[in-house]
């Protein structure tokens, strides 16, 4: 059984068809990168997967169960975690408490255990010494790490990463790449990562790349195959990948 199955999803905003029949499958432990230019429908797809949007037609299945009509919080409880592109911390809570929220409600742990898991998650991403600071005081890079820690503390089966590299400097990208590689290797969780900028950093981690354009999947496969597809080169990359 596939962990996640997206079947023929259509999502329209007024006259604009953001997704025009997108299908996608992810196995347990698989790392998939969704690549595509701005407006290609990546973020809409992510929002349909975690329940922020309901599709106009098509289905989303998680562990074989139809979750198309479930609200976002119910999907989170089933094991879907998300790290937002623009970090969305709870600014008046401490860094630790932010992660505790993830462990409590996304991970379904009791308060005592949630605090332990939250500390571990902060250590894991290297934010341990910031635990007692207010989240509103973190730098952008630290907020990114906080997003990741919060998502991991939810002990997800599927981790949704939205442009985790955007806005980071080369050193920070290096660190984030290592971190995500570790997550993928150690934690046995599937991840779906959206990529528009900083493609190389994410694509080198991916088992599979899905290329989107104007609400459709135009190519799919191992990174070298998908990104050397003539159509992908033509409309997105401009020159061949590698």
């Amino acid at each position: 059984m596939k962990l996640l199955k997206v079947e023929n999803v259509v999502k329209k905003f007024g006259g604009l068809a953001a997704l025009q029949g997108v299908s996608l499958e992810i196995d347990k432990g698989e790392f998939v990168a969704i690549v595509g230019p701005n407006g290609s429908g990546k973020t809409t797809l992510l929002n349909v997967i975690n329940g922020v949007y309901k599709p106009d037609s098509g289905r989303v299945l998680f562990e074989g169960r139809d979750i198309t009509k479930l609200p976002a919080y119910a999907r989170a409880k089933m094991g879907i975690s998300r790290a937002f592109q623009v970090p969305r911390p709870f600014p008046d809570m401490t860094v630790l408490d932010n992660v505790v929220v993830g462990a409590l409600f996304n991970g379904g742990l009791d308060l005592q255990r949630a605090k332990e898991v939250a500390r571990e998650a902060l250590e894991y991403v290297g934010l341990g010494r910031k635990a007692d600071e207010l989240a509103g005081r973190l730098t952008f890079n630290e907020l990114r790490l906080l997003e990741l820690a919060r998502a991991l503390a939810g002990r997800p089966k599927l981790l949704l990463l939205d442009e985790v590299m955007a806005g980071l400097n080369p050193g920070e990208i290096d660190n984030m790449t290592k971190l995500i590689r570790r997550v993928v290797e150690e934690k046995d969780i599937a991840a779906l990562s959206l990529v528009e900028h900083r493609m190389k950093a994410v694509v080198q981690l991916a088992h599979r790349v899905v290329v989107m354009h104007q609400g459709k999947v135009i190519a799919e496969g191992p990174p070298d195959v998908a990104l050397n597809d003539p159509m992908v080169v033509e409309i997105y990359l401009g020159k061949p990948w590698r």
Binding site: A74, A76, M93, F105, G154
Partner: protein
């Protein structure tokens, strides 16, 4: 977090009203605003939503006890617990019904939706002539019959004061317990970013509804204590007054929204401030509340306790939750 300070303030007020019955009236006035602020804080302070329907909850408490005293004299002294429970049940039921529908709306829309509740209920009672209609419920005679003269007099003085204080104390305990448990994390997350909270597995409607119903129940107890018990009468014009939410918000913002101690300090200061300003500018007393809210929100949006908490060391912060 250590809730000792607010609890100690409440307990000393209880002691004061028992030891000096002649001060009971003053203590009751101060305590009413403290407790009202605390009740408002449980919903408005913890969720960030504003409800203009608090008068309806206060009225449900007033009518709950009033109706039982007026129409069920055969219950004798049992009218008191039964009436209090009925008031809480009416307010809780109303909160549940309104909340289940209106709490799906985002904060500003929810606030607007609640404005209509007061007026609708008042018009229903006056228009349909139920529960005494526009002439209200006058309860003095029945209370003498049901409780005996001495106990009735005690109830309308010290008794109602102690009930107000007990309600405030319970509301303090509730605020503290909510904040130190899972639901406190959920409410804080909802208040700061409801959409992110949802994506993190929090069902906002559920937690907002819990806070709303709790808050309504404490408001109802205040209504029972202040009108049928203390004033021995319930009139639609006095119980359905929008002023209560303004007072409650003023107390909460003055002390610090979302804190445990805030409404206690806010309530202690609010009554003297109104009295003082009322003496210097008697014609403008009604202006005091909105101006006070405006000044606090602009100058110190976190309120007295909120600003203090941000400035003191974590060790002291523990003592002013």
């Amino acid at each position: 977090m250590k809730p000792h300070v607010p609890i100690a303030i409440y307990l000393s007020l209880v002691a004061l009203s028992l030891a000096k019955p002649e001060l009971s009236q003053t203590v009751a006035t101060v305590a009413f605003y403290m407790a009202l602020g605390q009740a408002v804080n449980i919903f408005v302070g913890l969720t960030g939503y504003v409800n203009f329907g608090y008068a309806a909850f206060i009225a449900m408490g007033a009518y709950g006890l009033g109706v039982v005293i007026a129409y069920f004299p055969q219950l004798g002294t049992w009218t008191l617990p039964v009436g209090l429970l009925l008031g809480v049940a009416l307010a809780g039921g109303l909160a549940l019904a309104v909340g289940a529908v209106a709490l799906r709306l985002r904060s500003a829309y929810f606030a607007i939706a609640t404005i209509g509740i007061n007026e609708a209920l008042k018009d229903l009672i006056v228009g349909a002539g139920i529960w005494g209609g526009s002439s209200g419920l006058v309860l003095g005679y029945n209370m003498f019959q049901e409780y005996g003269r001495d106990f009735a007099l005690f109830l309308s003085t010290t008794g109602s004061t102690v009930l107000i204080l007990a309600t405030g104390l319970m509301a303090v305990a509730a605020t503290y317990l909510l904040q130190s448990r899972e639901i406190g994390y959920a409410l804080a997350a909802i208040r700061q970013d409801e959409d992110a909270a949802k994506v993190m597995g929090i069902n906002p409607a559920k937690y907002k509804l819990i806070a709303f119903v709790l808050s309504s129940a404490f408001s109802a107890l205040l209504g029972s204590a202040a009108f049928p018990l203390a004033a021995t009468q319930v009139f639609p014009d006095t119980v359905f007054k929008v002023d209560y939410i303004l007072d409650g918000l003023a107390v909460m913002f003055l002390g610090g929204a979302g804190t445990v101690t805030g409404a206690v300090i806010g309530g202690l200061l609010y009554v003297p401030i109104r009295l003082l300003l009322g003496q210097f500018l008697p014609a403008y007393q009604a202006l005091v509340t909105p101006l006070l809210v405006l000044a606090v929100v602009l100058a110190a949006p976190r309120g007295i306790i909120g600003e203090l908490r941000a400035r003191v060391s974590p060790k002291i912060r523990e003592w002013i939750p």
